[in-house]
């Protein structure tokens, strides 16, 4: 095992042997903007008490989902977490069906059964957002085992926070993936906090990718606010996995802007990211200065991939799409009460016991 490697963004942002097309690069920016736009809307709806339930807002971490998901294909699988809106959207999930699910509507992705924590579209290769921390890794590694049985060159990517490497599941995933070179890529989104608990106070390591070495897995650390750095690391891991060379664990250092979930403390029109007791506003401002979206936009404009004017147009398009999604969701029907008894098993309904 080598030491933990830092994957640095290539000077011209082009990994060896690959020329990025303009469409690809602009697509990355648009996806990040879509996530931000969606999450800003969710935050607003939470603050206005229009949305119920525990939405864990992804704003700030967009580069991780978008960079990693750009490295995989339609045929591959991902598993996600409580903070999963971004992962789905990065794969191209429909804003309308997302929003309908958040609103508990019968036409949402999970027909209203799931809500924010469980948005799933199996047709996009999403094996489920899972509200139990760490479970994403085990299910993806299990899917990776299934890929070996099928004999295809698919891969399975799991997302998990800095909290996801401890607990019950990660260890089982990592050991088996290492022993049998499974096509599993574990993405650790290290945003520094587990609710309010600092990773540094509960772990004996600083770079969480180091955990990989104990299993015999290559661990990498990347700047999680640099979409191309994440993409490059993920691409490397995906190609390695497809070639039968086993798993990689990629730690993406990043930050979440808002509180753990919801819009607690935020007044409408006032930013609810500041004034949280467990972190300093200064720390937040430092990370906001590294916002992955303007950073990548500036880069694309400087590299003449995009004009400022076209970028503004995209912002407007995204804003409109999000507003349309919110309007769509509002107009959708509620689920039928008795449908709660369905989908327990594949067939039929379970008996009611209120009378």
């Amino acid at each position: 095992m080598g030491p933990v490697k830092e994957v640095k963004r290539k000077k011209a942002a082009k990994p060896a042997g690959e020329e990025f097309t303009k469409d690809f690069l602009v697509g990355l920016l648009r996806r990040m903007m879509e996530i931000r736009g969606f999450e800003d809307k969710v935050f607003e709806l939470l603050a206005r008490n229009v949305l119920q339930g525990a939405s864990h807002v992804y704003a700030g971490q967009e580069a991780v989902a978008v960079g990693a998901c750009a490295a995989i294909d339609q045929r591959d699988y991902i598993t996600s977490t409580h903070r999963g809106h971004g992962h789905s959207l990065a794969l191209g999930a429909d804003l309308k069906l997302m929003m309908a699910e958040l609103c508990g509507k019968a036409t949402g992705y999970c027909k209203g059964y799931g809500g924010s924590l469980h948005i799933t579209d199996v047709s996009l290769g999403i094996l489920g957002m899972n509200g139990i921390v760490g479970a994403s890794h085990l299910f993806a590694a299990g899917a990776a085992y299934g890929i070996k049985v099928k004999g295809t060159d698919q891969v399975a990517v799991s997302f998990g926070g800095d909290g996801s490497i401890q607990g019950n599941f990660f260890s089982s995933a990592a050991n088996a993936a290492a022993a049998w070179k499974l096509p599993w890529i574990g993405i650790i989104e290290n945003n520094g906090y587990q609710i309010w608990v600092r990773a540094a106070d509960v772990y004996g390591i600083t770079d969480l990718a180091q955990r990989a070495h104990g299993y015999g897995i290559e661990g990498r650390v990347v700047d999680g606010n640099d979409v191309l750095a994440v993409y490059n690391a993920a691409k490397y891991a995906v190609e390695k996995a497809r070639a039968g060379n086993g798993p990689t664990i990629i730690e993406c250092k990043t930050y979440r802007w808002y509180d753990h979930y919801g819009a607690g403390g935020a007044k409408i029109g006032v930013d609810g990211a500041f004034g949280l007791g467990y972190r300093s506003d200064r720390e937040l401002r430092d990370w906001m200065a590294k916002d992955p979206i303007p950073r990548f936009r500036r880069f694309l404009v400087a590299e003449k991939v995009l004009t400022e004017q076209r970028a503004d147009e995209i912002v407007a398009e995204v804003r409109q799409a999000v507003e349309d999604a919110a309007a769509f969701a509002k107009a959708q029907p509620l689920p039928k009460p008795e449908d709660g008894l369905r989908n327990v098993f594949a067939e039929g309904a379970v008996p009611l016991h209120t009378c």
Partner: protein
């Protein structure tokens, strides 16, 4: 303002931590902090981080370490969040519940598993809106399970659990600040004793934790219609022998038993109570109401359709009484 469930529980723990200089609390993110009229409680500030320690997201550590330290005479409380109730199930089953027996009485676990229970919360979906999990623990040998329905019982049962040398599962559902006022001083609500909430002779209603709210409303409603319900809250699920004395005495009088449950129907909470009554008092007319054997859906419309409410309890009680 009356003390909240959490304030009452923390007040009990605080008193015991003052009394016993080794008693230790491990938790995840639910800070042992509460504000109230009698002043704020902050266990980390008062007792230091070794004795009130937040941990990684690792419920196995939180519970397993409390088992390990309690074995060397450091009594401990493991506080775990609601969606993780079953992560330490193996630890409580194969270790906490068995080691005393397997070692011929040598091993002891003076520890409390303080398990947060979410209950049937809307807009969360199945993993974050569960109830009834206490029965999986009540099945296991060597464990005691308590389940308070108000702040008074919560404080008294927590203190009883801490002082008990056997491992105790303390289940906290979100409950309103109702019931008797909570004294500032420490006191004990004995493990294994049911509470008679209201007396009556027409039928016996048994239920605990969130369902006590619905049952309470139903009992009032029934009274208006001239039906006297005797409402019993078991408070302890294991061991059940003491609780059953109270329940059997009541059912002997009323001849009718209605149970109401936020947990699922099968192999579940009130099942054991019903079965014991049926064995002891053949001829009893029995009805069990419960959440169906299904996960809790997110959308509130589906969820509330599935939960037992006061209306259902009233209807079922009338049917039992009138024929």
């Amino acid at each position: 303002m009356a003390k909240s469930m959490t304030y009452a529980i923390l007040e009990g723990i605080q008193a015991e931590m003052r009394r016993n200089k080794l008693l230790t609390l491990l938790y995840e993110y639910q800070k042992p902090v509460a504000g109230g009229e009698k002043g704020a409680i902050n266990l980390e500030a008062e007792f230091g981080r070794w004795r009130a320690r937040f941990c990684a997201i690792d419920e196995q550590w939180i519970v397993g370490s409390c088992l390990g330290m309690s074995m060397i005479g450091v009594p401990a409380i493991a506080h775990i969040p609601s969606m993780t109730t079953f992560i330490p199930y193996e630890l409580m089953f194969n270790h906490a519940g068995k080691l005393r027996h397997m070692t011929g009485g040598q091993a002891a676990f003076p520890m409390v598993l303080w398990a947060d229970m979410m209950g049937r919360v809307p807009a969360q979906g199945g993993q974050h809106a569960d109830a009834g999990l206490e029965s999986s623990y009540a099945r296991l040998a060597g464990l005691k399970v308590v389940i308070p329905s108000n702040p008074y019982d919560a404080k008294g049962l927590m203190i009883a659990a801490i002082r008990d040398v056997d491992p105790v599962i303390f289940c906290q559902y979100p409950m309103p600040s109702s019931g008797p006022p909570v004294p500032d001083e420490p006191y004990v609500v004995p493990i294994g004793e049911a509470a008679v909430r209201t007396e009556g002779s027409d039928l016996t209603i048994v239920g605990y934790a969130p369902q006590t709210v619905e049952i309470g409303k139903a009992v009032e409603e029934l009274k208006k219609e001239g039906i006297g319900a005797e409402f019993l809250d078991p408070r302890t699920l294991a061991p059940l022998e003491g609780v059953m004395e109270t329940i059997l005495k009541s059912v002997k009088k009323t001849g009718k038993l209605l149970t109401s449950d936020d947990g699922s129907y099968s192999f579940s909470n009130c099942t054991e109570i019903v079965a014991r009554v049926a064995e002891a008092l053949p001829g009893t007319k029995i009805k069990r109401l419960a959440f169906p054997d299904a996960p809790a859906p997110g959308a509130p419309e589906m969820l509330s359709y599935m939960r037992v409410s006061a209306v259902h309890i009233v209807a079922a009680a009338k049917k039992l009484v009138k024929g």
